[in-house]
């Protein structure tokens, strides 16, 4: 109920997290991303986790080099953040949620 209402008001965030198997870095990144989204984008985000170990052909599309990588597909423009997302400040800047200092 609640997400639907918000979706109408502000655009939905589509995030893709590229990981490799269940490596510690990948697991950490997913945990961090979820935590971050719950804090800053509660109810208006979708996370799609792509495991390149299973679908390597998908790496080309989003020009993935580093693992883990988060790609913000929506809202435009596309943003890329690489790393375990442990640095929240950088993450906020990277996702245009706060202007770079």
């Amino acid at each position: 109920m609640k997400p639907k209402a918000i979706k109408c008001a502000t655009p939905l965030w589509q995030l893709r997290l590229y990981v490799m198997d269940e490596t510690p870095k990948s697991v950490t990144a997913l945990t961090n991303l979820k935590k971050f989204c719950e804090t800053h984008l509660k109810g208006r985000y979708r996370i799609k986790v792509i495991d390149l170990a299973k679908e390597p052909q998908l790496a080309k599309g989003d020009q993935i080099l580093a693992i883990p990588t988060v790609v913000r597909k929506l809202p435009k423009p596309v943003r890329t953040i690489i790393g375990t997302l442990s640095d929240t400040e950088h993450l906020l800047v990277g996702l245009d949620l706060r202007a770079a200092v």
Partner: protein, 585 residues
């Protein structure tokens, strides 16, 4: 079971090589790049790194059935396809036939934010996927260093690159990694410390306004390789490296002799002309008839049915045909019959290497038995002396390998000592004919002599040759007190000798006349004497007759008188005989 033994041993001692298929590069590296290992190709901007890498892949896919992956960091797939298409590589088709995978890796620093730890597993995944999708044996990473600009954390990048090269080795692919040349190190970001098996350095230099590319194998672990700098060029069929020293001196030799087109010159060369597949140098100052003699040679060869390729760097084909027509040499029919082919180019059109490559290509296409290069000095002037010599060496090696007889003409400067100015080339030549101008008597005359002719008895004489509307005529030069006499001096000398002969002839005639006269005088004398004798003899006979008659007459008279005085006669006779004793008394 016995046979494979030595074979295995041989392959075990030799580092496995991966042939590039690039002309000349495999010769320098003695078979190609180290198989299953990464090779670093570094060089400045625009020196052909990407092209070399791309050709390695394309030739691998086409010639050696080794599919390849091209991971491009700088150029997009589309750009790459267009770029290599201009060299005749159908990258598009190879991609379609799944022989090559092109993956364009693009990272925009401004769109990327770093947050926490990461690695470059994504790159590995992509590369691994590309390799596995076509079973690639070859990989090109062009130019990996772009990552240094895209990724903020250099420490991570470095450790990941180290891992990448190890991983590539484990994969067993032969990789070529291109890198930008650094100021003091081989590469700007020190990639050479990761790739230590083979390093190739490319270079693009401008010398006297002419650019030449060079290639050098800086390092080749575990294998012999040419360490020199080799010129290479990018033609319309890819790269060709032109090794100078790769060819060994083991050409096949021919004992067949071919005529020069000038009979007297053949005579000077042991009567039969040059050896087939020899290299001949024809030197002379301007206007000594180099092109004319070369054209004669070409004409003679083409008339024998051989194919002749005439490289002219000074005159256009039409000009040569016209000029030779004026001395009675018809080249046009031979051109029409495709026996003679001209290739004219301005020397300054491009660098030495490009000329050489063009010539190689022409020679390969026309398959001539005789090649004429008129003049080689125009080409040699394009580079330094050593470059020029290197070029001639390569050309000679190439032509000798193909059993081609080659005539080089060489223009010498008036002031130089002939031998000295040709020292760079002459040692490479089998025969050397020198054309020279002789000045004197207010005229210039041409002479020629054979300076050297390996493996044949040859004349040591200086001969004058005349170019008339019947062609070339070699005549004997007179040796006079002041040296060789040519031209009008030679004619004058001839006249002089003729006069001398005439004089002695006249003298002989004179003498003959004298003798005749004497003989006649003698005969006359003899005649006179005989006439005298005969007169005297006649006289004598007449006298004798007279005497006889008189005696007879006397006798008759005496008899008559005796008859008349019979007694008297007896008395007289007895008185005469008695008178003597009477005197005693």
């Amino acid at each position: 079971m016995k046979k494979p033994g030595p074979k295995l041993a041989a392959s075990a001692t030799r580092l496995p090589k991966c042939p590039t298929g690039i002309q000349g590069l495999d010769e320098i590296t003695d078979g190609g790049l180290p198989r299953g290992r990464p090779t670093l190709v570094c060089g400045g901007a625009g020196c052909g790194k990407t092209l070399l890498a791309a050709e390695f892949l394309v030739r691998g896919a086409v010639q050696f059935d080794e599919p390849g992956v091209l991971m491009a960091f700088e150029e997009t797939e589309k750009e790459l396809k267009a770029n290599v298409a201009s060299l005749g590589f159908d990258l598009e088709g190879l991609v379609r036939r799944k022989k090559i995978v092109v993956d364009y890796v693009h990272v925009e620093r401004s769109e990327m934010q770093e947050s926490g730890e990461y690695d470059l597993e994504g790159l590995f995944v992509r590369l691994g996927h590309a390799i596995d999708s076509i079973g690639a044996k070859r990989v090109v990473l062009d130019t990996l260093e772009v990552l240094f600009a895209s990724l903020p954390n250099e420490a991570v990048l470095r450790s990941e690159l180290r891992r990448l090269f190890r991983w590539l080795k484990e994969k067993g692919v032969t990789a070529v990694i291109t890198a930008e040349r650094g100021r003091e190190s081989l590469t700007r970001h020190g990639l050479e410390e990761y790739v230590s098996d083979c390093v190739i350095l490319l270079d693009h230099r401008v010398n006297d306004q002419i650019a030449t590319r060079h290639l050098r194998v800086v390092k080749y672990r575990g294998a012999l390789h040419g360490t020199n700098e080799f010129p290479f060029l990018i033609g319309d069929d890819g790269i060709s490296v032109l090794p100078i020293t790769s060819l060994a001196l083991n050409h096949q030799v021919s004992t067949e002799r071919i005529a020069t087109g000038v009979p007297r010159l053949d005579a000077m060369l042991g009567g039969k002309g040059f050896f087939r597949s020899s290299s001949i140098l024809l030197t002379g100052t301007a206007g000594t008839g180099k092109t004319t003699i070369s054209s004669n040679f070409a004409h003679a060869a083409a008339r024998r049915g051989e194919r002749v390729l005439f490289f002219s760097f000074e005159e256009s084909p039409n000009q040569i045909v016209r000029n030779m027509h004026s001395i009675g040499l018809q080249l046009e029919p031979l051109v029409k019959r495709r026996l003679l082919r001209f290739h004219s180019q301005r020397p300054s059109l491009y660098g030495l290497e490009m000329h050489l490559a063009t010539m190689f290509k022409e020679i390969a296409a026309f398959q001539p038995q005789v090649v004429i290069i008129d003049p080689i000095t125009s080409l040699m002037d394009l580079g330094t002396v050593s470059e020029g010599k290197g070029m001639v060496t390569r050309l000679i090696d190439y032509l000798k390998a193909g059993q081609v007889t080659t005539l080089f003409t060489s223009l010498t400067q008036g002031g130089h000592a002939l031998q000295q100015s040709e020292s760079g080339m002459s040692s490479l030549m089998d025969a050397w004919i020198l054309l020279q101008d002789f000045e004197g008597n207010g005229e210039r005359n041409r002479v020629l002599y054979v300076l050297k002719a390996r493996g044949m008895a040859h004349s040591n004489q200086i001969r004058e040759f005349l170019i008339s509307d019947h062609g070339i005529d070699v005549v004997d030069a007179y040796i006079g007190a002041s040296g060789v006499l040519t031209g009008s001096a030679r004619v004058a000398q001839g006249d002089l000798e003729k006069a001398a002969v005439l004089a002695s002839q006249q003298e002989a005639a004179q003498l003959k006349r004298e003798v005749e006269r004497k003989r006649k005088a003698l005969e006359r004398q003899i005649g006179d004497l005989r006439a005298d004798y005969e007169t005297e003899a006649l006289e004598l006979r007449r006298i004798a007759e007279q005497v006889g008659t008189r005696t007879l007459l006397l006798g008759t008279e005496r008899t008559a008188s005796g008859i008349l005085r019979q007694a008297d006669a007896k008395v007289a006779a007895s008185t005469r005989s008695k008178a003597k004793p009477g005197r005693k008394i």
